[in-house]
């Protein structure tokens, strides 16, 4: 078991009369790539800023290696940040930007130069020392920002939507690279994003947040396959969410049919919600499935077709590589393991 590095306990934060964090409890481990994921205004950036020390929590604790640090100013924390728009100092060149923190520590010039060039090599900007940071491309500025933070050898690197300003292609490339850098330096990365794809592809652990509360913590696979509530199911990927009843363990009822499933532990006849991922559904002949309907719309999405099927009770979205023409009567087939039963959420 890895060691706990940061513990957030009952964190709340109010700005004026607005509550942006409503009791955050989170353990962050050493050498972990953790992502705070959620829509804008969900409190993910505030959480990050509290960890960095730019904001103080209204109540609750931030423990770093077991020591309370919520009142410790940012410059005394072994934590560094990569800012959303990089925040490179415009009048300093690349090397001086990276060396900023080391210079403050009054480190020896030759040591600084050595560290700087090692960092530049790691982020793939060898020989860029004397360049003007304002003339670099977005991706290059991003790398300098990462180097500037990592050169201080922090225990934790915070990244606040660092790829948000980059275009799609460079973003993909940087995702891979960030993951590589994290493995190389072997420290904890806490990454904030609203992009679920980014979160799922890079992280060891994903924390889904909404409305100042944590919705679910888990590995990307868990989060995707076993969403705990409607918000998570909705936010992570596309899904068909259907209200129903849990008749008993391993048996669920929705749309007027009963299905076998793999979920248990719900009270009998509990009202629940079921998630059916579009890619888990198959189009079959009408007589081979319980749920049947008519194809309303077909859109080609590159790899698969997105097929909208209208049944008696609702419309389903299906992602499949098989074509089905509009107007055809079809059946929807899925196995017990494709049904994800969730607790029903109050209105959020």
């Amino acid at each position: 078991m890895k060691n706990k590095l940061i513990e957030l306990k009952d964190l709340t934060k109010n700005f004026d009369d607005q509550q942006v964090l409503r009791g955050i409890n989170l353990d962050i481990y050493e050498n972990e790539f953790l992502t705070l994921l959620g829509p804008s205004g969900c409190g993910k950036t505030t959480t990050l800023r509290i960890i960095a020390g730019f904001d103080e929590p209204s109540s609750g604790q931030v423990l770093f290696n077991g020591i309370e640090i919520s009142k410790v100013p940012p410059y005394k924390r072994e934590i560094n940040t990569v800012f959303q728009k990089y925040a490179l100092f415009p009048y300093l060149n690349v090397a001086d930007n990276i060396a900023f923190g080391l210079n403050l520590k009054k480190m020896d010039k030759s040591v600084i130069a050595q560290k700087v060039s090692r960092m530049l090599k790691m982020v793939g900007l060898e020989g860029f020392e004397k360049r003007d940071v304002t003339l670099l491309s977005g991706g290059q500025q991003q790398r300098v920002a990462i180097a500037r933070a990592l050169v201080n050898e922090p225990k934790v690197l915070l990244l606040d939507e660092p790829l948000g300003a980059l275009d799609a292609k460079i973003r993909k490339q940087m995702q891979t690279e960030l993951k590589k850098i994290q493995r190389e330096v072997g420290i904890t990365f806490i990454y904030v994003t609203h992009d679920q794809e980014e979160a799922l592809s890079m992280s060891d652990a994903v924390v889904v947040m909404n409305n100042g509360e944590i919705q679910q913590i888990g590995s990307p696979t868990d989060i995707y396959n076993e969403p705990e509530n409607r918000f998570v199911a909705d936010f992570i990927g596309e899904s068909n969410i259907i209200e129903g009843h849990m008749i008993k363990d391993f048996l669920v009822e929705f749309d007027g049919y009963t299905f076998e499933c793999v979920d248990k532990g719900f009270p009998e006849n509990e009202e629940i919600e079921v998630v059916l991922r579009p890619e888990d559904l198959d189009i079959v002949e009408p007589d081979k499935a319980q749920i049947t309907g008519v194809v309303k719309n077909v859109t080609f999405k590159g790899v698969h077709y997105e097929i909208i099927v209208e049944t008696e009770s609702r419309t389903y979205m299906v992602h499949t590589t098989d074509y089905a023409e509009v107007g055809r009567k079809v059946g929807l087939s899925f196995g017990p393991e494709d049904i994800h039963v969730m607790w029903k959420m109050g209105a959020y």
């Binding site: 700005f15 505030t46 800023r49 730019f54 904001d55």
Partner: protein, 286 residues
């Protein structure tokens, strides 16, 4: 929005102290003074009364107010007529020429206004350049008496305040999305119609802020009336100055100042109400 306190307090302290003592303090003092009573010789008696304000309505001063208001109005209207096209044309110049025009407009603004007015004295005086020129062209026999007259003061006001108007209109027209004008034309508006319905409407904030920036000073710039108008034109500003120095009725001067201030505030509030803007266009002249 999300900014913690980090040493902001000691930085702000000098500004707070200075502003409270030397800006808010004097203004409040003068407000109090305007309700005091002037002694016969020097000094004031601190007895609350409204005499000073009533005195403003005295027929003796009515004329000053009327004259001052008229002058301000005349110079402001003329300023709009001359300055609006200028600012508008300037905004339509190509980038490079725009910059040059900007410098051209700002440069005189940087030259001491007295120097520039003095230049007008040389031009306008009886034996001055203008008369000399007109005479040699045989347009007039007798020299025109422009200096020390109403028109001379208007010229001076226009001259000093013109850049404010032009810049206000310019900064408003510069921000104008010209594609809106094109859209209006595309939708069938004539050139004139497109101008009045789109361009003029959207540059109105600039024009209005220009009006405020020129109207209020027109009532206070006593030195223009003084050197270009001789003793003939008395502005509210001249009256205040006179009461402070020769008349030595400070409470009355204070009341005049308060009224002028309220007028200024009202105009700015009106402007904000009309345009929903927070700041005057073109005030931060850059």
């Amino acid at each position: 929005m999300r900014r913690p306190k980090n040493g902001g307090v000691w930085m702000i302290l000098p500004l707070y102290l200075f502003t409270i003592v030397f800006v808010a303090g004097p203004l409040l003092y003068v407000l109090a003074l305007s309700f005091a009573k002037a002694n016969d010789g020097y000094g004031v008696t601190w007895a609350f009364n409204l005499e000073n304000y009533k005195r403003i309505l005295d027929p003796v001063y009515q004329n000053t107010f009327k004259q001052s208001f008229q002058l301000a109005l005349t110079s402001t209207v003329l300023n709009c007529l001359i300055g609006y096209p200028f600012g508008y044309f300037m905004a339509r110049l190509p980038e490079k020429k725009k910059k040059h025009a900007m410098i051209g407009l700002m440069l005189p603004f940087w030259v001491n206004s007295l120097i520039r007015l003095y230049g007008w004295i040389i031009i306008l005086q009886k034996k001055g350049l203008l008369n000399h020129l007109l005479k040699s062209l045989h347009l007039i026999d007798k020299p025109l008496k422009i200096l020390y007259s109403y028109p001379a003061v208007v010229i001076g006001m226009l001259y000093v305040l013109f850049p404010f108007m032009a810049l206000s209109v310019y900064s408003s027209a510069e921000k104008l999305d010209w594609s809106l004008v094109e859209a209006a034309r595309d939708l069938g508006a004539s050139k004139t119609k497109a101008f009045w319905t789109v361009t003029f409407r959207l540059t109105l904030p600039g024009l209005l802020s220009g009006v405020i920036l020129t109207f209020i000073p027109s009532m206070g710039l006593f030195f223009i009336a003084d050197i270009l108008g001789g003793n003939k034109i008395v502005l509210v500003g001249s009256l205040i100055q006179e009461q402070m120095t020769r008349g030595s009725n400070w409470p009355f001067a204070a009341a005049l100042a308060v009224v002028l201030l309220i007028l200024t505030t009202l105009m700015i509030m009106l402007y904000r109400k009309i345009t929903n803007a927070k700041q005057l266009e073109g005030v931060g002249w850059e």
